[in-house]
């Protein structure tokens, strides 16, 4: 179930805008379900309808893109994992941006989708390059921490702990966490409040 994520390569889609929140990525009405199925069609649905076909997710040149290039504070707001799930079901496997909201970033790690950051000017340049040549391949390399489009190469960043989880294939932390049950019980036993009152 766990697999290494060292390189994400493919076509990219630029989405210009700051503070794009998770309500915009997937509106709350799409959360009325007990599975993550069928979220792909809802990605940015209200923005897409407002832009009548002009949203990058609707433009023909970006269909099949794997890398989403965004600006500042992408994924702010709600903790809904439905947001990255919707992006993943649309086809996104990696994100490059100026900055990401923390819960969104954590959700992406847990799903094996790296979110790397670059300087504002680098991100702007990447968005321009992709807009000019939407069919060009973008290579996001977590080993070298570089992104490459044609002959343009730029450095990107991701927290070292998260990077290690991707390249070693341990981004799905569940197995590792469960394996430490004895230590977990030990930590719990030392917390005074565990014994004060039965809560559940």
């Amino acid at each position: 179930m766990v697999s290494q994520v060292k390189v994400v390569a493919g076509r990219a889609v630029p989405l210009v805008g700051d503070d794009i929140d998770t309500d915009r990525i997937i509106p709350a009405r799409y959360l009325k379900a007990i599975t993550f199925d069928g979220l792909g069609g809802g990605a940015f649905i209200d923005d897409r309808q407002a832009l009548k076909g002009e949203h990058p997710f609707d433009q023909p040149q970006y269909q099949g893109a794997r890398i989403l290039i965004v600006n500042r504070n992408f994924g702010c707001g709600s903790s809904r994992e439905h947001a990255p799930q919707a992006l993943a079901k649309w086809g996104i496997q990696g994100l490059i941006g100026e900055s990401f909201a923390e819960i969104f970033f954590g959700n992406c790690v847990a799903m094996g989708i790296p979110c790397v950051t670059g300087e504002a000017l680098v991100v702007k340049k990447l968005q321009e390059l992709v807009t000019a040549s939407p069919l060009g391949e973008v290579i996001l390399d977590l080993d070298t921490l570089q992104v490459q489009i044609g002959d343009y190469t730029a450095p990107v960043l991701i927290g070292e702990g998260s990077r290690k989880m991707f390249v070693s294939g341990s981004w799905d932390a569940c197995g590792q966490l469960v394996a430490n049950t004895d230590q977990i019980q030990g930590t719990a036993a030392k917390l005074p409040y565990i014994s004060w009152a039965a809560i559940g």
Binding site: A33, D172, G200
Partner: protein, 467 residues
């Protein structure tokens, strides 16, 4: 790097170990779940053949999808019914306590855990909801998580996390009349920006917070996430202990004495070191209203909507987007903006003291013609307490609807929604595009008293005129 803060102490006490990635495996003392972000997590557990490791440390309620008018089962909305049934089944199969509708203790997850005394100082608290930061009001380290992480907590009662930096936000002084906890947090977010807190835990300190009651402190911590900080907290003090004493799940007898000593010990040290410190003066905080599409786009009630030139360059792009979406323009006063819908409630401002402040404004007055105004108590207990004081009568006589508890029109996953381009005055926490159920609906965030004022006047107005 911070040292000696409550955050550092609680983090260390809950550290199980360091994972190969370098991330910390952190024990979660209290896990709260609801119907929206948990069903997929239980499905993942089943797929992997895992069991809930500490079922007694997970507590469930239903809040996001519940109708606030007719709560008879099955719900009219088939999908909502499917979600509550899934939660009932998952709780039953995994031996998890569930505060269901009609239990007397159901409500918004961030309202019920504190009122039951589940939320306590020194705990780590996680929930698949970004407003989990609310619980930091008690001196807990509380934060929102996604569904895969809900799975991790169910399976291991732990999470893989990297430690946050700590920023102290100090507000000193007395708030002016008509200025509430909501205004304080809107002012902080407006000043530090919606991404200013990314990478930080916020410690709210200073005399202004010390003077606040627990419900006001929860309003402040609730919106830490709107400023980008995944968690915000206030050191526990006598106000905290007085609130907790005799609550259902608060420690009792000898445990209480032990608890008091432990809670005092985890407070930030007087010489604690912080990664950053920001200072505000309470007297300078005005009643605050948002005009745009992020909680950081706020202004004082008597101010005008800022022009791009008045904003930092990095805030101009989103401001341009906000002018267009809101149909509000630079230089326009926010006061006098016509309102269609008034919503009082949510995990930010749906507690008893919030309803009391709004009722003071509503008492003996009438909701303006053409305005739909409704009040949604945060929990069954809040509703009952408010009715015992006659607040329901005050609201109803003024023309407000009095509803059953739930998240309601904060995010409109139930039938309470804006229609078309309606504009709402809302005591909730988010003014994102489409947030309140219409893809073109517009939201102005403000304190409950200001929402009540808007309902009476039919437009955004200064609460101080009705005090």
């Amino acid at each position: 790097m911070s040292k000696g803060t409550l955050f550092d102490k609680v983090w260390d006490l809950h550290t199980v170990g360091t994972l190969p990635s370098g991330l910390t495996q952190l024990f979660i003392g209290l896990h709260l779940i609801h119907e929206v972000t948990s069903p997929q997590a239980f499905a993942m557990l089943r797929e992997r053949g895992l069991k809930v490791l500490f079922p007694e440390r997970t507590i469930a309620t239903v809040d996001h999808i519940v109708p606030t008018d007719n709560q008879a089962r099955p719900f009219g909305d088939r999908l909502a019914e499917e979600m509550i049934e899934a939660l009932e089944k998952n709780c039953q199969e995994n031996d998890i306590t569930f505060y269901n509708i009609g239990s007397g203790s159901q409500g918004i997850v961030h309202v019920i855990a504190p009122e039951l005394g589940l939320t306590q100082p020194g705990m780590t608290i996680a929930c698949g909801d970004s407003h989990t930061s609310s619980h930091g009001a008690f001196g807990a380290i509380a934060f929102g998580i996604g569904t895969s992480q809900v799975r991790d907590v169910l399976a291991s009662q732990t999470l893989a996390l990297s430690k946050l930096k700590v920023r102290k936000i100090k507000v000193n002084g007395v708030l002016k009349p008509g200025v509430y906890a909501k205004d304080v947090i809107l002012h902080i977010i407006r000043t530090l920006g919606v991404k200013g807190g990314v990478g930080y835990a916020y410690e709210y300190a200073g005399t202004t917070f010390e003077q606040m009651n627990m419900e006001e402190r929860m309003t402040v911590c609730n919106m830490a996430i709107e400023g980008g900080a995944r968690c915000g907290y206030i050191n526990p003090d006598q106000v905290t202990y007085d609130y907790l004493k005799n609550k259902d799940f608060a420690p009792k007898g000898a445990d209480w004495d032990q608890a008091l000593a432990w809670w005092e010990s985890i407070r930030s040290d007087a010489n604690a070191e912080y990664d950053d410190i920001v200072v505000f003066d309470a007297a300078k905080i005005p009643p605050t209203v948002t005009w745009g599409i992020t909680p950081g786009q706020g202004i004082g009630i008597n101010q005008k909507i800022p022009s791009p030139e008045e904003l930092l360059e990095e805030d101009r792009l989103i401001a341009e987007e906000a002018y267009r979406y809101m149909d509000l323009y630079p230089g326009q006063p926010i006061e006098g903006t016509k309102i269609d819908v008034c919503f009082i409630g949510s995990c930010t401002n749906g507690r008893l003291s919030d309803l009391r402040e709004a009722a003071k404004i509503a008492q003996g007055r009438r909701v303006a013609e053409g305005v739909k105004a409704f009040v949604v108590a945060g929990s069954e207990r809040v509703k009952k307490a408010a009715e015992a004081e006659g607040l329901d009568k005050i609201f109803q006589e003024a023309g407000f609807e009095w509803r059953e508890p739930g998240c309601s029109m904060c995010l409109a996953m139930n039938p309470d929604k804006l229609q078309g381009r309606q504009i709402s005055a809302s005591s909730s926490n988010r003014n994102f595009k489409g947030r309140q159920g219409s893809s073109t609906g517009r939201t102005l965030l403000m304190s409950p008293a200001m929402v009540a004022t808007a309902a009476i006047k039919g437009e955004v107005a200064d609460v101080r005129e009705l005090l």
